[in-house]
């Protein structure tokens, strides 16, 4: 670990907070993408079944 001198708190804080924000952003986007992808495949399957039943 490099010697961060007197202001180690500021440097560490800015890195930790920034990476935390980026991480939550990535996780939120990733989880929503998965959830919506699953939901879409279900809806499409239901639509195909409905179309076959009254086709």
């Amino acid at each position: 670990m490099p010697d961060l001198g007197a202001y180690w708190l500021e440097v560490m804080a800015s890195y930790v907070i920034s990476l935390a924000i980026l991480a939550t952003l990535v996780v939120l986007i990733w989880r929503r993408s998965d959830r919506v992808r699953r939901e879409l495949s279900e809806t499409e399957a239901r639509a195909r079944r409905a179309e076959r039943s009254d086709g």
Binding site: E44, A47, R48, E51
Partner: protein, 207 residues
């Protein structure tokens, strides 16, 4: 002065509701739109009135010819009957037509009553009096006779007939039979929009 519509398609909330609508409304003619609730009567009227862009198709009508009346009458409760009509007269630049309009819809005795004290039927009559005040030949009316008693409906039909004889035209969406013999009827269920793409592909409208 006639309105002609060629294969018009309209959408509500991005979903096509009607397509291929075509009709002509010559001067002196009246057309009543029939169809179950939610089939797109209001959407069609709003598109004709210019409040909404059509999906496709053509509407050709002379400029400044249409007067639209929706479900709500657009009356200011704190203004009196006379003030409401005078306002619309000055907006349409037809000063002086308030008196004949009020007498036609026999509202003359309610002259100074604020609109909020009127009954639903009287408010409706004031809304229709506004149509007379606009002096526009082509009336586009959405459920004009709602909350009108039998006598007022008769009065309304006489007003429309006089309007037609004077060379005007009327396009109305309504459920009840107005007893307007010369009015043609157009059933909108024939123009219901078929769902476009199948479940597989999706075009600009995602469906």
């Amino acid at each position: 002065m006639d309105l002609s519509v060629r294969d018009l398609a309209v959408a509500r909330g991005g979903i096509p509701v009607l397509e291929g609508v075509r009709f002509d409304l010559p001067a002196g003619g009246a057309l009543v739109l029939r169809g179950p609730n939610g089939c797109g009567k209001t959407t069609l009227l709003r598109t004709l009135a210019g409040l909404q862009p059509p999906l496709e198709g053509r509407i050709s009508a002379p400029p400044e010819a249409m007067a639209y009346a929706g479900h709500a009458d657009g009356l200011k409760p704190t203004l009196t009957v006379a003030e409401n009509l005078r306002f619309w007269a000055s907006v349409y630049g037809t000063a002086g037509r308030e008196a004949p309009a009020m007498s036609a819809m026999n509202l003359s005795d309610l002259l100074d009553r604020p609109a909020q004290t009127l009954s639903a039927g009287q408010k409706r009559r004031l809304g229709l009096a506004r149509l007379l005040v606009t002096g526009r030949p082509l009336w586009v009316l959405d459920e004009p006779t709602v909350s009108l008693d039998a006598g007022s409906v008769g009065l309304f039909v006489r007003i429309v007939r006089a309007h037609l004889e004077a060379g005007g035209a009327a396009l109305m969406a309504t459920h009840i039979d107005l007893g307007l013999a010369e009015a043609r009827v157009l059933d909108l269920t024939a123009y219901r929009a078929r769902p476009r793409a199948q479940a597989g592909g999706f075009d600009e409208a995602f469906a």
